[in-house]
């Protein structure tokens, strides 16, 4: 049985010295990898992560580094075209936007209006961002047979919204499970997560280790 885990965060370049990152430690993905590696039915774990992510050390694990969403997509398509993966755990924090253009307020005004400038004396810089392709939507196309666990992270959301939005991700992307969690319930060793299934039933876990164990038992 082969497992694919994405973890950590993506990084989109602004220029050669600046970049936009999704800050994710990858610690949960790492624990999930470690838990899978102790299971004798798991042959190989492909761990695709950002360069700053926590890394599992099991001999079964092959680590593949990515930075941008485009490099993540390339790595996933390449891997899934040559390897049959049974379980996909998509825990990576993937940027929704990437840099399309860097401009200034005055130049932006000109471009958008094709008329006189709004101001020529502004110190503001503008980063124009465009949507990235939805990585989670790709999995069902390139690896339809896999068990797929998606992740949904919100910030300071009511509990019902968290479950609803998590279930939306599940139905929109035909996931097997979605792990929904909220930033305000993650600190240090505490990590509250709700593992939602296709009937919208869910179980609550309160540590990364408990989430990791539940994710492995639910999917293996």
């Amino acid at each position: 049985m082969n497992v694919l885990i994405t973890a950590g965060g993506t990084t989109e370049k602004i220029d050669n010295v600046r970049s936009i990152s999704n800050t994710s430690t990858g610690r949960l993905g790492c624990l999930i990898a470690d838990d899978f590696s102790t299971n004798s039915s798991v042959e190989k774990i492909f761990y695709i992560c950002g360069k700053a992510a926590a890394r599992p050390e099991s001999a079964k694990t092959e680590i593949i580094y990515v930075d941008s969403v485009a490099s993540l997509e390339n790595a996933l398509r390449g891997l899934l075209s040559r390897v049959k993966v049974d379980i996909i755990i998509h825990s990576m924090a993937v940027s929704d936007y990437r840099v399309k253009a860097v401009t200034t307020v005055s130049d932006f005004g000109k471009t958008m209006l094709e008329s006189g400038k709004i101001s020529s004396n502004v110190d503001d810089l503008l980063l124009v961002m465009e949507r990235t392709p939805k990585i989670i939507a790709m999995f069902r196309d390139v690896s339809p047979q896999s068990t797929l666990v998606g992740f949904k992270l919100l910030d300071n959301s009511p509990f019902e919204t968290l479950i609803d939005r998590g279930f939306d991700v599940l139905t929109q992307n035909n996931c097997t499970f979605v792990l929904a969690n909220d930033l305000t319930e993650i600190s240090g060793e505490r990590h509250v997560g709700y593992l939602i299934d296709r009937t919208k039933n869910f179980t609550k876990y309160e540590t990364k280790q408990a989430i990791a164990e539940a994710t492995v038992s639910a999917t293996i």
Copy 2:
């Protein structure tokens, strides 16, 4: 003798999960710290760095972590108000801009024009960035007696431009030296740097170790 070294890069938050970073390994700053630590006249090294930066391990070194430019400024002002620092090596890659607002093309148009919208059907996100305070300009105010080494990094610049722009940084901020370097001349162990003095004379070095040794001998 007390030494202050800034190293690595700053990180400006966009929101609770996204941030803009200046990517700098801090390896050069770390080598400089290690070189200072072997000198018997150095009592203490304050090493102010981003969380991802390389870290010196000398017992003489106190590491102070910062993230945003504001936190860097606070840390520096706090430190320099209570400690007399003889030498300042400002190698940190400090962001020139921070996030002022996150908006969309259509909302931005409304705000800027106070009239009809430019478009209501755009997936583009806009990050409006404002200038950060110039950290290097602060050192002469709060620690006028210190020997000050500034850094100037360009990308694919002609040699003359690199020396001119480096010397501009020196004169504008009353530095003792400026280390000018270009991204295209930094890869792996190779790191070309020009240590420029107040007469615009300079010496070329070709490795991080050579730059570190020259910086220590020139300032101690």
